[in-house]
Symmetry: C2
């Protein structure tokens, strides 16, 4: 396939809507966001969609079905992380547009809306998913007061972007007949890449819980405190890290990560008196996650007690898993089979717009292979052929869906 | 013993020469240092010493012996860490002054110099021990260009303090007949406290080596990277920390500490791609330290390779152990025995002015019990009775020494 395919053209074109030259930096309610909206609008219109931008900054391209027909939602987010890639999010907006273009001459027995949500990454503001939450009426209006690093609140950023945050509650579409929401996204993990598969069907979006753990021991001079007389919090924390890793490795479908880890006072010749860290536990099964989280915390507490280190933990975040809809998955399976590509299922460890839309209607997700599993960097890559397979599968899906 | 004993009075008095109210903050070449010099001078003169301040800012109180008699040096440092205690350093200046006061009527067959060095802690400037190094002619004159946090070089700080850094090379006393140097210091560790002993004789000041270790793995999304497909540098680092601890615990006279430990990118949902840490190894035996350091590094390298984590290490610092002089130790033993207190020997894990003076003449150290081993905080405490035992032992030492 040539580099000048429509997919590549569109991805390269919209990648120029970026605040950075190194990778894509496109945060919500910025000039880059405005630029992206204009391009998305044009492409949607070219595919025969009727376009508007709602008060959450979501670009919506609608293909009207017969009167009173239910609506199928498709889409993903337009925003990126700082110096992110060209595929995360935006690819899931463009592929459905191309799929609809491909089946333009077919009349569908339902309406279709392609959505480009403003903010999924949560990089500019300490919250995200405003667009899908507004649709599902799960948006906490107080969160609009949250500010970015320049002290600009979400509310003010929206107003400056010619949106009306006061009308966000009008976006509630819980009473609209919806078939479901299909999100296409790069996997952002190595599973499809390692299995040499272009596409994957998501079984569920994993639930997440986070535990803030603080260990308090006794500081001491590294030279004058004998080895057998230490309450070294770093050594204790090291045991906890390895035990969390072991429990997760030994448990099917359980993932545990300690990504945030801070040592105090962090001085070369002082035995650390405190370590704070965040344990994150994920699973596509809420039961496995909850039991796993509890057993990890129980084990860590026991180890800390053995080392005479004070152990404090609190669950600071919890998000239920969102299972994908069986009927939509079945249609996706048939749609992929029709392209000749193998059908493969996997959970999504990452959160997506679909997580928020799960409160509104059935969801399904189509994953596209991600080169080496690398995402959120300029090196992020989805292959042309894989994206074309996704376009073909989505087009099949649209025609197969009754 | 009453709180108004001379020892307490002097310690409380000089503790007021501090830049902070919370604990003592007395850095070299500051108004607090000037205040301390004036008080030390007065007390030295009261004990019959002839006083001057040399060009390194060391206060020297001299008791002249018979012509051509050798000189015994006693003392410690006047400076503190930020918000440090009232004992570290300065106690080792005041107790010899009181010991000399106690035996004022006895004529000694040698000269005595009590020294209050300006800078042992190395808190203001990224180097220390200027005073003793000038005496031993081991001072690197280039180090005078090192600057404090306000951009003031040691040279400029000295000039502003009415010292003449150009004359530092004139302080060389290698050709002066010296008996040795006796430093009295709080232990800064828990050994005497736990053994319920007031005093200890130091066998050697431990040697130190530091290794900067950098681990490089592969970053990844905490949700999308399966447990069996990770190159998690934090989990690898955790194994290294525990193995360093184990090797040190299993080796007599070997201490290993990891006090500095930094995780990158340090984000809750990202598998850490890099950990940098500093391994510090100490021993009173250079052989044990060198073999221990090498075997720890070898083991850590092996573990990192097993986890497919890139391992980089470099030895960034190395300081030989300074054994204490057998003859001086023997006199100290007899001096302590004469007070009725038990004689106990232990290594010093911490560096002291004596480490630098070891290049000049024989050294010995008298440790005073430190409450719970706590030092470098306002809670640092040496008991009155223990300090009195040290004064008595020093007075005995001075009379026993031939």
């Amino acid at each position: 396939m040539e580099k000048t395919s429509p997919i590549s053209q569109m991805l390269n074109d919209i990648a120029t809507c970026s605040a950075s030259n190194d990778g894509v930096t496109r945060l919500p309610f910025t000039p880059e966001h405005r630029g992206a909206i204009e391009k998305i609008k044009t492409w949607m219109i070219d595919s025969g969609l009727k376009v508007h931008v709602d008060d959450a900054g979501t670009v919506i391209g609608r293909l009207e079905g017969s009167p009173n027909s239910p609506t199928l939602l498709l889409g993903s987010h337009q925003d990126s992380v700082h110096n992110g890639g060209r595929f995360d999010g935006i690819m899931g907006v463009l592929l459905p547009i191309l799929a609809l273009r491909k089946i333009r001459n077919i009349t569908l027995p339902y309406s279709v809306q392609v959505m480009a949500f403003a903010d999924e990454e949560g990089v500019r503001f300490p919250t995200a998913l405003i667009g899908p939450r507004a649709l599902a009426a799960t948006l906490d209006m107080d969160s609009l007061d949250l500010k970015d690093d320049n002290g600009i609140s979400i509310r003010d950023a929206m107003l400056k972007f010619q949106l009306n945050p006061k009308k966000l509650d009008k976006l509630d579409i819980r009473n609209t007949p919806l078939i479901g929401y299909i999100e296409t996204h790069i996997e952002q993990g190595p599973v499809l890449y390692e299995k040499n598969l272009p596409l994957g069907i998501v079984t569920a979006i994993s639930g997440i819980e986070r535990h803030q753990i603080i260990l308090k021991g006794v500081s001491g001079h590294a030279g004058t405190t004998p080895m057998d007389n230490r309450q070294d919090t770093l050594a204790c924390a090291a045991e906890l890290v390895l035990n969390a890793e072991k429990i997760a490795k030994d448990t099917t479908d359980l993932i545990a990560t300690i990504g945030k880890f801070t040592v105090t006072p962090n001085v070369v010749n002082v035995i650390p008196s405190q370590v704070s860290m965040v344990l994150e536990v994920r699973s596509a099964s809420d039961e496995i996650r909850e039991i796993g989280g509890k057993s990890i915390i129980k084990k860590l507490k026991m180890i800390a007690a053995e080392r005479k280190i004070d152990f404090f933990s609190s669950k600071t975040y919890s998000q239920q898993a969102s299972p994908c809809d069986e009927r939509l998955k079945l249609v996706l399976q048939n749609a992929i089979s029709k392209t000749g590509h193998p059908v493969f299922e996997l959970p999504s460890g990452a959160t997506h717009d679909a997580s928020a839309i799960a409160d509104l209607c059935p969801i399904a997700m189509l994953f596209v292979r991600c080169h080496k599993g690398i995402s959120h960097t300029p090196e992020e890559l989805a292959q042309e052929l894989d994206m074309q397979a996704a376009v073909d599968s989505l087009a099949n899906f649209l025609t197969l869906l009754k």
